[in-house]
């Protein structure tokens, strides 16, 4: 639940989602759900030459289970707040 709430607060930010198949997609976080499925808008692929079929894709839905990383802007994260929240969740969870 913690990361679901966390991502909900990040809606509107520019993120780069790296998938387990090594595809990396940059876009604006539009929405997220309980499975951490991600919907991105205004997307562009990081290595366009390697993935030519993604050229005209501008909005996409990414299944949560295939995500390896979600790269965030360094100033977009309050690390201490997240750390405290995670500690509380681990204790109470």
């Amino acid at each position: 639940m913690l990361f679901f709430s966390y991502f909900k607060d990040l809606v509107g930010q520019e993120v780069t989602v790296e998938l387990k198949n090594d595809l990396a997609i940059r876009g604006t976080l539009h929405s997220v759900d309980q499975y951490l499925n991600i919907k991105l808008e205004n997307t562009r692929v990081v290595d366009q030459d390697k993935f030519p079929h993604m050229l005209s894709v501008r909005n996409c839905f990414i299944r949560g289970s295939v995500v390896r990383y979600v790269q965030l802007p360094p100033d977009g994260v309050d690390v201490d707040l997240l750390h405290d929240a995670a500690r509380r969740e681990a204790r109470g969870g």
Partner: protein
């Protein structure tokens, strides 16, 4: 909340589905749920090998969500593929796929042989 995360673009739009086995399916999205189970109409598989590609028509597909990587909507105002790519026949693309598959298998076996020899 859930609805906003679901793919809810209008049916008329063409979409591309990336599957875990590397396949790329294109068609019209008819149904979709939070597990990414999907029903696609008028599906064709776009096979890309290097600069060559071909679309193989498949019909109506029901896709189990666990195989789905990504569902993207194709912007009709933009080129679907880079202009240097060449469309070839189904036989040709299948031949190219076979060559690519054999090349990567060969690389795989050579690697295994090297690892067996345990070079530092």
């Amino acid at each position: 909340m859930l609805a906003s995360a679901l793919y809810n673009y209008d049916d008329a739009g063409k979409i591309v589905v990336l599957l875990r086995d590397g396949r790329k399916l294109m068609g019209t999205l008819r149904f979709f749920d939070q597990f990414a189970n999907a029903v696609l109409e008028g599906v064709c598989e776009r096979v890309i090998v290097g600069e060559q590609y071909n679309d193989i028509p498949l019909g109506l597909y029901v896709i189990r969500g666990e195989n789905v990587v990504l569902i993207g909507d194709l912007d009709t105002e933009r080129e679907e593929l880079p202009p240097h790519m060449v469309r070839v026949s189904e036989t040709e693309i299948k031949r190219a796929q076979k060559v690519e598959r054999e090349a990567s298998e060969l690389r795989g076996t050579m690697r295994k042989r090297m690892e067996f020899l345990d070079f530092d």
